[in-house]
């Protein structure tokens, strides 16, 4: 298939792919041709030079029969590599049979086979090989069967796991429902996945089999004299290692190099064929490798999606002016956001995916680090500068520079004055620490409370967020609380320190609608009780309109409109109006089609010149596509960034604004744009 060729090409194009492919080719060529070329030299007995070290005639010396070690090592490659490949074939074959047997034989037999496999897999492969070697007897054939069968359980389990995981996917279910036959399901959907993973695993297993064979032969249980493979040569050579180290080192190096060739090529194949490293499970190192990769996958999955958001606050609590966030690779998720927040004021930031709202909140609270570059003309919280104290240890600019703190001071200041609430309360709590302890940490750290006092305050906060039996709940772990209760606990944690500002990033998105309402009311209570400023970030403009006093609408990293929540019905920006129109409510007319915004949300990595919304806007003209409108206030608490506000208000689009048949193809750059 064209795709497979394309994949192989990709494999060979990386430096790892090229070098390992060459190395493997050398090893295989050697295995095939070395005996043809050099058997006589390898077996030739040179009576004159017995047990000698390296010399001009014998590069690596000779053994006790005067045979040249260098050529013996070369010729031994055939037996070593050949046996390894044969053992792998046995393992894969048995594994396929055992792995698919449960599907064929039915439940009871399947369970029995599965449990035996699970028991066998728990043992290291070498011990299994040893066991089978005992039974099959000493010698090359016995060792071959032993190593082959020893790798079968791992393959069987791999086959089972893969087919089970693929079988559980939605598209398999859809195919079943569509009436696709079981056979075609196997061949068309399941096998293609397994095939590539099996190839990669088989390659790795060949490398491990090589090493296992060397080990068994080294112990004297594998290849027996007069035949010789690398392991047998190693055994021979070890006895003379003091006087003729080359005799022991050379076969050892050969084994390592050949094993590396297989394993590295396997890794390159995995990358090229798109096999997840988590699925490489075979061999002694296989389990370790798969666990390594599982960790890496979790690590990548845990990355917060980059979505910049900006918060602008004017007045006393928070002042943000021209905030910009950028990432390497010319990605500008936040492009100049300005706003301010007063005490007791609730401001909402609304936007879809790619708008930049969450990143703004993270940037403002100084939680963005590493690759992100955060700049602003002003970023002040309660009168103190948050920008110039970014680095730990970088102290204030000097006495007399008002408002600049050292790293430690900044930490304490933010810890006591700003609280944060995140979207997913399950992953935002440490799963292995009790809830109460996590709340108490804040007080113990920043307010110097003793452990007991901090614990007491934690219980008090839990009570304040209306969690029943707070003392009992404080001693529980996060997973023992329901979603709504966890979010309440999160709110409680954010107000442990009587903050002046609470930033809530999609706090109710993951909750049921009834729970959402309770949590929002609670949030408002807390805000009122502490006279706090609230920065509320959400994709749900209706909720924002209910909770906040003012609404900031973000699109492609900029604020496009800033208006009072009560005045949402009089929104002026085309995007805001379109957003409001496209949300179905309980009053939406059932006769008309729902309003749709053509095109896709903007991609922060490839923004057009001019207004970012122009490709999707019915009112856009040439000017919009060339120049980006600035946010202009009308003096009555309403600011819009649009060239054609009057046109929008009169609902008078320019001519030739047409919607194409596919609402999502209206000229927007290809993006991955759905709400995560």
């Amino acid at each position: 298939m064209a795709r497979r060729r394309q994949h192989l090409g990709r494999v060979l194009r990386t430096p790892l792919g090229i070098s390992s492919a060459i190395l493997l080719a050398v090893v295989l060529l050697l295995a095939v041709f070395a005996p043809v070329l050099w058997t006589s030299k390898a077996n030739a007995i040179d009576v004159v030079s017995l047990l000698q070290g390296p010399s001009a005639r014998h590069w690596l010396g000779t053994n006790q029969l005067g045979q040249d070690i260098f050529y013996r090592v070369l010729v031994a490659s055939r037996l070593s590599v050949g046996l390894a490949l044969a053992a792998t074939a046995i393992g894969v074959g048995c594994g396929l049979v055992l792995g698919t047997a449960p599907l064929v034989l039915g439940r009871a037999a399947g369970r029995l086979i599965t449990s035996v496999i699970n028991v066998a897999v728990a043992f290291p492969a070498l011990l299994l090989a040893l066991f089978f070697a005992i039974i099959f007897g000493v010698g090359a054939q016995g060792a071959l069967l032993a190593i082959g069968f020893a790798s079968a359980p791992a393959f069987a389990r791999l086959v089972r796991t893969l087919s089970a995981s693929v079988a559980g996917l939605d598209y398999i279910a859809a195919a079943r429902i569509a009436g696709v036959s079981r056979l075609r399901l196997l061949t068309r959907h399941v096998l293609p996945n397994i095939r590539e993973t099996l190839i990669v695993n088989a390659t790795m297993a060949a490398g491990d089999a090589l090493l296992s064979f060397a080990g068994l032969s080294f112990l004297g249980l594998g290849v027996q004299a007069p035949s010789y493979d690398w392991g047998q040569l190693l055994n021979d050579g070890l006895q003379g290692i003091y006087t003729r180290p080359a005799g022991a080192l050379a076969p050892g190096v050969a084994v390592v190099v050949a094993g590396l060739a297989f394993n590295l090529f396997g890794e390159a194949l995995a990358v090229g064929l798109g096999v997840s490293a988590q699925n490489i499970q075979v061999g002694t190192l296989g389990k370790l490798r798969s666990a390594l990769a599982a960790a890496a996958t979790r690590s990548r999955a845990a990355e917060p999606p980059p979505s910049p958001s900006e918060t602008a606050g004017a007045g006393r609590v928070l002042v943000v002016s021209n905030l910009r966030v950028s990432f390497p690779g010319n990605v500008h998720p936040v492009r100049g956001v300005s706003f301010s927040l007063d005490r007791g004021e609730a401001v909402g930031v609304v936007g879809e995916s790619g708008s930049g709202k969450s990143l703004t909140a993270l940037a403002v609270s100084r939680l963005l680090e590493d690759a992100a570059v955060v700049t602003a003309d002003r970023l002040e919280f309660l009168g103190r500068d948050l920008l110039r104290t970014a680095g730990p240890g970088r102290g204030g600019a000097g006495p007399g520079t008002a408002g600049v703190m050292s790293g430690r001071e900044l930490r304490r200041f933010l810890g006591t004055s700003a609280g944060l609430i995140f979207q997913d309360p399950m992953t935002s709590f440490n799963p292995v620490k009790r809830v109460g302890a996590q709340l108490a940490e804040v007080a113990a750290e920043h307010h110097g409370l003793s452990r007991r006092q901090a614990a007491g305050r934690a219980v008090d906060r839990l009570r304040a967020v209306r969690i029943p039996r707070p003392e009992h709940r404080a001693r529980q772990f996060p997973h023992e609380l329901s979603g709504g209760m966890r979010q309440r606990a999160m709110i409680g944690m954010s107000v442990m320190g009587e903050p002046a500002l609470v930033i809530a990033d999609e706090p109710t998105t993951a909750l049921d609608v009834t729970v959402q309402r309770q949590v929002l009311r609670l949030l408002k209570s807390i805000q009122a009780a502490g006279d706090m400023a609230l920065l509320f970030i959400s994709h749900d403009i209706t909720v924002v309109g209910q909770v906040c006093d003012r609404v900031l609408v973000m699109y492609a990293g900029k604020i496009v409109e800033n208006l009072p929540a009560g005045g949402l019905a009089d929104a002026r920006h085309p995007y805001t109006r379109a957003l409001l129109a496209s949300v179905p409510s309980m009053e939406t007319s059932r006769e008309l089609p729902l309003a749709v915004i053509p095109g896709r949300p903007a991609d922060p990595a490839s923004l057009p010149a001019g207004c970012a919304f122009a490709p999707r806007c019915a009112f856009a003209d040439a000017r919009c596509r060339e120049a980006d409108p600035a946010l202009v206030a009308d003096g009555a608490g309403h600011a819009v960034a649009c060239w054609h506000v009057d046109r929008v208000l009169a609902d008078d689009p320019p001519p030739a604004a047409a919607l194409t048949a596919d609402p999502e193809s209206a000229g927007a750059a290809p993006v991955s744009g759905e709400r995560a």
């Binding site: 795709r3 939605d170 598209y171 279910a173 859809a174 079943r176 429902i177 569509a178 009436g179 696709v180 879809e352 209306r466 029943p468 709504g484 309440r488 993951a510 909750l511 049921d512 609608v513 009834t514 729970v515 959402q516 309402r517 309770q518 929002l520 009311r521 609670l522 408002k524 209570s525 009780a529 994709h539 749900d540 909720v543 309109g545 209910q546 909770v547 949402l568 019905a569 379109a578 957003l579 409001l580 496209s582 179905p584 409510s585 309980m586 059932r590 089609p593 729902l594 749709v596 896709r600 949300p601 048949a661 596919d662 609402p663 999502e664 993006v671 991955s672 744009g673 759905e674 709400r675």
Partner: protein, 271 residues
């Protein structure tokens, strides 16, 4: 036009002491050519009913009937489903055209080119540009993928379609396009549809009848207008009261009383 009927359907997960009853003696009818909206919060059992209808899970009791007969599991499948997650419902190794073509019934009777032609017709029907048939799912947006999934569901010439939270994972601005399409197709092809969603506004827009589920049971059902404007049950009233409405405000709770977690139906995450 066919009728889908659930009669005393009970579905259990697990066994013995730890069995969890996901659906409890559910009676539900989807009248021919109409749309029934099934609403409920997480743990209500609505997705379970859908999976039972298409045969992905076997009911412990009760039966599911299509026009009075058990739902056929061989040959032509008159009952099709569209899933929630647009990213998981298409095989990443098959083009959109191949995925749709695979669902065209009549293996052996219909030729490959006939199948491809049908796939092209269906993708056009759902409003996708002609080049889409050769694209892989990774190259399509969520909304486009859902359309492909819809086309695939239609390939089997179904009488009944079950839509399980098909717009929950989409951006608000694309949700409307998919909903418009669904409504249009349903009217044109006179499909019977079971539309599952937690979003009451969306259900109201799409459905003729509404059934409300809570903890595995249907607590209320009837014409959409009646149920959503003048509900009889307390839970339905609670659900409606909790739906955010433009122009209203959420203020601080006046007293602590009704905000306690106890006394309310247990809430959780949205499925």
């Amino acid at each position: 036009m066919s009728e889908l009927r659930f009669e005393q359907v009970t579905v259990r997960y697990g066994s013995g002491r730890h069995a969890h009853v996901a659906a409890d003696a559910v009676d539900l009818v989807v009248p021919p050519g109409h749309v029934v909206g099934l609403v409920g919060e997480s743990g209500s059992g609505k997705s379970t009913l859908a999976r039972a209808a298409v045969g992905l899970v076997a009911p412990a009791a009760g039966q599911i009937l299509l026009d009075g007969r058990p739902v056929p599991r061989r040959g032509r499948r008159p009952l099709q489903m569209v899933f929630q997650d647009p990213y998981a419902s298409l095989d990443p190794r098959m083009t959109a055209g191949e995925s749709v073509a695979e669902a065209v019934p009549g293996r052996g009777r219909v030729s490959g080119s006939g199948r491809r032609a049908e796939a092209a017709r269906l993708t056009d029907l759902v409003g996708l540009p002609p080049g889409t048939v050769d694209k892989f799912p990774a190259e399509l947006s969520g909304g486009q993928r859902q359309r492909v999934a819809l086309a695939r569901a239609l390939a089997g010439r179904p009488d009944v379609i079950i839509a399980d939270e098909i717009t929950s994972a989409l951006d608000v601005s694309t949700q409307g396009a998919v909903l418009n399409l669904v409504r249009e197709l349903q009217r044109e092809l006179r499909l019977s549809m079971l539309f599952i969603s937690h979003n009451l506004a969306v259900v109201r827009y799409v459905a003729d009848y509404v059934a409300v589920m809570y903890q595995g049971r249907i607590v209320e059902h009837g014409p959409a207008e009646r149920v959503l404007l003048d509900p009889g049950q307390a839970y339905t009233r609670q659900l409606l009261a909790a739906v955010p409405r433009a122009g209203t405000r959420i203020d601080a709770a006046a007293d602590g009383g009704d905000d306690e977690e106890t006394g309310q139906p247990p809430g959780g995450s949205v499925t």
